[in-house]
Amino acid sequence: MMKVEAIIRPERLEQVKKALEEKGFVGMTVGEVTGRGEQKGIKLQFRGRTMDVDLLPKVRIELIVKDEAVDSLIETISTAARTGRPGDGRIFVIPVARSVRVRTGEEVV
């Protein structure tokens, strides 16, 4: 089992959700974060000076899925979230040891 964490642009959340649904990925957890990548966010020119605006708003989506679903999931998210410009985000995959459904107490994926 894997946890796939994607940090994406907030304005892409709807598209990503839709794409995931179409692929049958329904369960997910979403949170608001801020972040910066290697470009250190966005550089604004300002009267000759440059100002870094780092820590731009991002959305984090997390899905726990079976190992075999990871490839498809990464593909789906990264396609739907891509604009091609810096700041599109990252997807990380983290091994999960166990997963339990609170309602029933049973182990699930």
């Binding site: 304005e11 709807e14 966005i42 550089k43 604004l44 020119q45 100002m51 708003p57």
Partner: protein, 400 residues
């Protein structure tokens, strides 16, 4: 005439109430934009107030209320408030008070138009545009209707600014939106209001201040002011309910729709407030609520990013109000009859007055916007817009 302390008291308060509407517009709009642009949005309303306040005492009042130059614009008699003093002229309130009452109207008009440039305007360019606009669009229009200009002479009625304030800013906003263009991502991803409670607070201040706006325009604390007050409230309420139900028919009853409908009702009754009675106000408000809602849907359908609907609400609401004045005016209230009392002339005058204002406001705003855009650039860069105006223009973050 001799000063009447009751009239003066009322106009003093009414002026303060209209002033409060200006940040009220800012809060109304500020709630509707994204979190990254709210300081900018509220800031633009304060900026409108400050800029117009200075412009008005220096030149604006004179251009609006100075001796008419061919019915088109006022002369320079009152430049720098020369000759505008503490005594009453031919009214019952001090000249200075009349001047400042008019000032806040000019201020709010510029605040309304910021709808069109929400989340993407360069502040420096807005300052230049704003000064040009209030001078070249607002001041002449005020003169036309109230300052001895041709529209007033023609007999077109505009009790409290349906034409001068709302048509001008609404259709101006339309032109301005066409020039500045859509926000990045408009139509593609959601741009949900970041705080509906803030917008509702703004609406509350607007509704409150509008009593000063309309009933204050009687320039006296008398029966006419009372009538204006009553019809203002009735029209607002009818507009609120109408939009609420209209949105309900299409889906769910929208609370945002309800307050927008309230504003639509307030806008529509503005030119009519001194001329119609409460039952007419019910109709005027209800029609405004539905009409402005339809205008909004139309605007969205056309993919037009006149972002916060100054056109749909103020422009179309003001236009309807101007015409409605020509329909519903009754002799008993303000001394003028409308279509329903058989007076076609009044109706025609209203249509001409409003039509001229629509065209003038749209065309001149379009030209001004083009000029400013060509010279300074109206719009921030793509990165600045993405980051948000609060940070990119002001270096500030609304919420920590």
């Amino acid at each position: 005439m001799v000063l009447d302390s009751g009239d003066t008291a009322w106009v003093l308060v009414a002026t303060a109430m209209v002033m409060l509407m200006i940040p009220g517009v800012g809060l109304f709009y500020g709630g509707l934009v994204r979190k990254k642009d709210v300081v900018s949005m509220i800031g633009l309303s304060f900026l409108a107030l400050a800029l117009v306040s200075v412009q008005w005492v220096l030149v604006g009042y004179s251009l609006s209320f100075g001796t008419s130059v061919g019915g088109f614009v006022g002369g320079l008699d009152f430049l720098g408030l020369r000759g505008v003093g503490m005594d009453t002229g031919d009214g019952t309130i001090p000249d200075l008070l009349f001047m400042v009452f008019q000032l806040v109207f000019a201020g709010i008009t510029l605040a309304i138009i910021t709808s069109a440039v929400a989340e993407r305007v360069r502040i420096g360019s807005f300052i230049v545009f704003g000064l040009l606009w209030t001078t070249l669009v607002y001041d002449p229009l005020a003169h036309w209707a109230w300052g001895g200009g041709w529209a007033g002479e023609l007999g077109a009625l505009d009790f409290a600014g349906g034409t001068v304030v709302h048509i001008s800013s609404g259709f101006g906003a339309l032109a301005l939106a066409l020039v500045i263009g859509k926000r990045i991502g408009f139509g593609d991803h959601d741009m949900e209001p970041h705080s509906i409670p803030m917008t509702m607070l703004g609406a509350a201040l607007l509704w409150f201040g509008w009593f000063g706006f309309n009933a204050g325009s009687a320039l006296a604390a008398d029966g006419l002011a009372a009538n204006a007050f009553v019809v203002t409230n009735v029209s607002a309420s009818a507009g609120a309910l109408a939009w609420l139900f209209a949105s309900w028919v299409k889906g769910k009853p929208s609370a945002l729709g309800m307050v927008s409908g309230g504003i639509a009702g307030l806008v529509a009754i503005t030119p009519a407030a001194g001329f119609v009675d409460a039952m007419a106000a019910l109709v005027i408000g209800a029609v405004a609520g539905i009409l402005c809602y339809m205008a909004l849907l139309f605007r969205v359908g056309k993919g037009l990013d006149e972002s916060l609907d100054a056109w749909a609400v103020h422009g179309m609401g003001g236009l309807w109000g101007a015409i409605a004045t020509g329909i519903f005016a009754v002799e008993a209230v303000g001394g003028y009859s409308g279509l329903l009392q058989g007076n076609v002339d009044q109706f025609v005058a209203q249509v001409i007055g409003a039509g001229a204002a629509v065209i003038y406001a749209f065309v001149v705003t379009y030209i001004l916007a083009k000029v400013v855009d060509a010279t300074m650039g109206l719009r921030v860069t793509e990165d600045e817009e993405y980051v948000g105006l609060d940070i990119s223009q002001h270096g500030e973050k609304a919420y920590a």
